[in-house]
């Protein structure tokens, strides 16, 4: 299906099904509500076929350009039907499964993610390993037909909801750095896994600590080859910095539009409003070009770090403007709308931290795009 045809028929379908897809209050206010509403939207859009476009047929998709799923996420986000962060996890984890899992495993598992039957999480960060991913220490030891995994992950988004985890573990010696990492697809109900949600400043326990105590993972759940985990991670990160950001830009546009509709004009500096709008336009233009490169089959690499810096900058600028324009609401408002602005403002502070900090993105840009050498 072509993008234009997809766009108009999807828009018509969404108009028709707006009632059933629109979240009620509880599906906006709590993370539990958001998650169950997300599953509902994914199920409806999967059954109607929309969610399957842009994914290969061998994992239950209907084929077609990746632009189709970029537009689906944009439309759902822009219409306020899903929260962009939790929706876009699919864009990060499904391509990894398609590229690195055994074909039979991907064929069984990916449809469950697309249909909203399951939630998956991404076990990368550790207490001692944030930006320095290659230093991770969660151990995976081969024992017959299984890996035995022991260690700890942290800041694992949605782990408490997840049925599966794409996990990076150290299979080589402690000194093996990025060469000794293996990626595994782990069932979260395996004996020995303990998930403890973390209270965050924005009030939603969005991420968790995950403890692994001698957890058995079948060897056929290895993603890629033993020792190839670093490549899996490096190929995953550009997805985190492409289609997911396109969806996020649509969300930021919607929230800025909402701010303009309700703010008292005197409470905002016109030049700040103009500048934030320009930042969003630049983000959208940059991300659009990235979507088209992805659709043309080009390999996404370190240049997506520019997209990531732009989205973090734009998100914080939008919600700084919210804090300026809706000061009383953000600080002491007690109605649901104020509460939402407050949560979003607080969550925006993380935009330059998660998925590789703003500093790490700049390091990547300096080394890989500007070719400045390895640095200190």
């Amino acid at each position: 299906m072509e993008l234009d045809a997809f766009r108009s028929s999807l828009d018509a379908w969404l108009d028709q099904h707006e009632d059933v897809l629109t979240p009620d209050r509880s599906a906006v206010e709590t993370l539990d509500g958001q998650m169950s509403h997300l599953s509902k939207v994914k199920l409806h859009t999967y059954d109607a076929g929309w969610m399957r476009w842009g994914w290969p047929e061998r994992v239950g998709g209907l084929g077609g350009s990746t632009l189709l799923r970029a537009y689906l996420g944009e439309a759902l986000t822009f219409r306020n039907l899903v929260e962009p962060g939790i929706y876009s996890m699919t864009e990060v984890l499904a391509p990894t499964m398609i590229d690195y899992a055994r074909p039979e495993l991907a064929a069984v598992m990916v449809p469950r993610l697309l249909r909203g039957d399951e939630t998956w999480c991404q076990g990368f960060s550790e207490p001692g390993t944030g930006s320095n991913l290659a230093a991770l220490s969660c151990r995976a030891t081969r024992s017959g037909d299984a890996w035995r995994v022991s260690g700890q992950k942290v800041w694992t988004s949605l782990a408490q909801y997840a049925q599966r985890c794409v996990l990076l573990a150290r299979s080589g010696s402690p000194e093996s750095a990025h060469k000794g990492i293996t990626a595994l697809f782990v069932d979260m109900d395996s004996p020995g896994i303990d998930v403890r949600p973390i209270e965050t400043v924005h009030g939603a326990p969005e991420f968790s600590e995950v403890f692994f105590d001698d957890v058995a993972v079948p060897v056929d759940r290895t993603l890629g080859e033993e020792g190839q985990g670093w490549s899996v991670a490096m190929d995953l990160l550009p997805f985190e910095r492409s289609t997911a950001l396109w969806h996020r830009a649509a969300y930021l546009y919607r929230r800025l539009q909402r701010l303009l509709e309700i703010v008292h004009p005197d409470s905002l500096d016109p030049s700040a409003v103009g500048e934030v709008t320009q930042l969003l336009a630049a983000l959208r233009a940059r991300s659009r070009a990235t979507q088209h490169r992805l659709a043309a089959g080009q390999h996404l690499g370190p240049e997506t770090s520019i997209d990531k810096v732009l989205v973090a900058t734009a998100e914080q600028a939008v919600f700084d403007l919210v804090a300026d324009g809706l000061g009383p609401e953000v600080t002491i408002g007690d109605d649901p709308d104020s509460d939402r602005w407050r949560r979003e403002f607080l969550y925006s502070r993380a935009a330059s931290i998660y998925g590789g900090t703003a500093e790490i993105q700049r390091n990547i840009i300096a080394r890989r795009l500007l070719d400045l050498g390895s640095g200190q």
Partner: protein
């Protein structure tokens, strides 16, 4: 224009911008058929030339041709074009009771021509393009911050009109939009050149026994410069696709702000040598400051946009995927 034609045009434009400037570059543009390219495929002709001109720190009268093409007027060597005064995007001429007053700037072609074209507001929203005799205008050479640019300041009162062309509604805003895009690309080109100079210096300059490019403070300044440039470049590309004056003004503002960011970071990385005239950096610093003024500064365009958004409470439409 197909890919082969485009590559050929870019190769000859690159050679022209690197080897000539001013009147010589204007002649080279005539010879290599840039004006034909401008009428066939404005986005390729404008984006290629102005980015290369910005990179090479060259100057030309091409901006006149860009404005005239949007107005549907031919470019002629004997006729110059009055551009809006620095900091302004409004038409440079004003007609009141049949009396033409004008204030603006011009490129070298204004000095060399015998006649000049001045777009004039005529009450209401309408615009006219008026032809005047150059000898009737007051021209002041304006070397100022950037003598290489060859800009002149022009003014006139009670100027006799020798020719008159009615402009369709929206034609002047389209000319301003095309000028915004052209200057935006020139700012991006200049910014890329500054980044290249600073990058080269960072890799060569040894302090504390190592290239300063190894220091994170230096690396992050250069990374921020690249981020700003790529954001502006993407916005320019999107503005061509959209074709609206608002998108072009946003892209010009982004490019102006990015160029100022590039100046700040690159000059700091270049440090002492970047403060001397023996290094090329200062030519770009000078050019960028004047280009930001041409057809409205980043600051003024941004404030105008913000006021408009607060009044209408409506963001610009989202360009489709």
């Amino acid at each position: 224009m197909d890919d082969d034609d485009r590559t050929l045009l870019e190769v000859s434009l690159k050679h022209a911008c690197q080897s000539s400037s001013g009147a010589a570059l204007d002649r080279a543009l005539e010879d290599l058929g840039w004006h034909e390219a401008l009428s066939v495929d404005p986005s390729v002709a404008v984006s290629s030339l102005f980015e290369l001109q910005g990179r090479a720190n060259a100057s030309s009268s091409a901006l006149d041709a860009v404005v005239r093409s949007a107005l549907g007027l031919k470019s002629r060597p004997s006729s110059g074009t009055v551009l809006p005064a620095l900091g302004r995007w409004q038409a440079p001429g004003h007609l009141a009771d049949g009396d033409l007053l004008l204030r603006g700037v011009g490129t070298a072609s204004l000095v060399d021509g015998t006649t000049a074209m001045v777009v004039t507001s005529s009450g209401g929203a309408g615009h006219l393009a008026l032809e005047v005799t150059t000898a009737d205008l007051t021209l002041r050479s304006a070397p100022g911050l950037d003598p290489r640019l060859g800009l002149v300041e022009v003014s006139g009162g009670h100027v006799a009109v020798t020719g008159r062309y009615d402009l369709a509604p929206g034609q002047w805003p389209r000319a301003v939009a095309l000028a915004h895009l052209a200057i935006g690309h020139e700012l991006v080109g200049a910014s890329r050149a500054m980044l290249e100079l600073a990058r080269g210096h960072a890799l060569e300059r040894i302090q504390f026994g190592q290239p300063i490019a190894t220091f994170q403070a230096v690396r992050h300044r250069l990374a921020d410069t690249l981020i700003a440039i790529e954001a502006s470049d993407a916005a320019l590309g999107s503005a061509w696709d959209e074709g609206s004056p608002q998108a072009a003004a946003m892209a010009k503002a982004l490019a102006g702000r990015s160029a100022r960011t590039a100046v700040r970071h690159c000059q700091q990385v270049l440090a002492g040598i970047g403060f001397t005239t023996e290094h090329d950096f200062h030519h770009y610093l000078r050019r960028v400051m004047v280009l930001d003024e041409l057809f409205g500064t980043a600051r003024a365009l941004t404030t105008r946009l913000g006021n408009h958004l607060l009044a209408t409470r409506q963001l610009p439409p989202l360009p489709p995927l």
